[in-house]
């Protein structure tokens, strides 16, 4: 009788040892994967940049500068005659509210007439609520409106024509 009980215990011990060995052979852990998605930045051109109608100087070049801060604000070199129509561009940006956005524009572009004559535009500037040194903040409604200005270089006795060109504005979340 004693032997029989001992035998059962021995078998139970052997089984326990086998179970212990089996449970020790593998381990696992659960961990979280996480990501945060912001709304995509979107931009819409509201108004084009216009340098207006200009009468050039036959004896020298001059600049026309459009102010990014206010509508229809043009600074004309003294040797040019800026007659009408100069105005800043306006762009509307939408994205995550209260988020800082870095804004850049083309360094310079070329305006070309139908006849192939050209003028250079450079010195693009931005203005808007909270804008400073290339960085602006989207407002609490998720919107940001910026004005864009630049400087047009009008050549000596610049040929007559309607000059156009395209500039690029790029923005990224900061």
């Amino acid at each position: 009788m004693k032997h029989r009980n001992l035998g059962k215990r021995g078998l139970t011990l052997a089984a326990l040892l086998m179970m212990t060995a089996a449970t020790a052979r593998a381990g696992s852990a659960n961990v979280q994967a996480a990501a945060t998605i912001h709304p995509p930045l979107k931009m819409q051109a509201l108004e084009n940049l216009a340098f207006g109608t200009i009468a050039p100087d036959v004896s020298g070049s001059g600049n026309v500068t459009i102010d990014a801060n206010s509508d229809k604000s043009t600074t004309c070199a003294s040797n040019l005659d800026c007659m009408e129509g100069g105005d800043r561009a306006k762009i509307l940006i939408s994205g995550r509210s209260s988020q800082a956005v870095q804004v850049t524009a083309s360094e310079s572009i070329t305006l070309t007439s139908a006849e192939g004559d050209t003028m250079q535009v450079s010195g693009f500037t931005f203005a808007g609520e909270g804008y400073s040194n290339g960085v602006a903040y989207i407002n609490s409604n998720g919107m940001l409106e910026l004005g864009v200005g630049a400087t047009l270089n009008v050549g000596k006795d610049q040929p007559v024509g309607n000059y156009t060109g395209v500039f690029r504005v790029t923005m990224t979340y900061q």
């Binding site: 078998l11 052997a14 994967a33 990501a35």
Partner: protein, 171 residues
């Protein structure tokens, strides 16, 4: 008690006696090493970072398994704050070969129920090959896990989360 039972019992007792008669420190260590369970503890979660999706194109974020704070963002996405790998500590028998199993894919959800899929899970541990490696002489090893997050055009904003399981087993 059956004859088979008697034999098993005798063998166990005999083994115990032999073990007791060789009680050197080295053998105790060896026995402890043999008994050591394989354990996996999560140290850091897998973080894909903060991402601004494209309005027009799908994109992806790849988090490297072999260094912290290392992620690559496809050109049509903006990765704002960096992603970083998950980290685990594996403890077990020294010099023992182990297998590592990662998920094929994991679904991340935001509070509104929108989803993204993470796949291409990869791991890195010093001295490990693909799918198999060895625990070092200290009985512990650190495991890094990276993956690719697939972000759709106009992916809805929100904080996305999902859970994945990593399994290790002795060879």
């Amino acid at each position: 008690m059956t004859k088979t039972g008697q034999k098993i019992l005798s063998a166990l007792i005999f083994a115990a006696l032999i073990s007791a008669s060789h009680s050197t420190q080295a053998q105790n260590n060896k026995a402890q090493n043999w008994k050591k369970s394989l354990k996996l503890v999560a140290l850091d979660q897998l973080e894909f970072g903060t991402i601004a999706p494209s309005s027009n194109f799908d994109g992806y974020v790849e988090v490297s398994p072999n260094q912290n704070n290392s992620s690559i963002c496809s050109h049509n996405l903006t990765c704002l704050y960096g992603g970083s790998r998950a980290r685990f500590r594996i403890t077990g028998r020294r010099h023992q070969g182990i297998y590592i199993t990662l998920p094929n894919q994991v679904i991340l959800r935001n509070q509104a129920g929108q989803t993204m899929i993470a796949d291409n899970f990869q791991y890195y541990a010093s001295g490990f090959g693909q799918g198999i490696g060895y625990i070092n002489g200290n009985g512990a090893i650190e495991l890094g896990v990276g993956a690719q997050l697939n972000v759709q055009a106009n992916q809805m904003p929100g904080a996305y989360q999902g859970t994945f399981e990593v399994t290790v087993s002795y060879q």
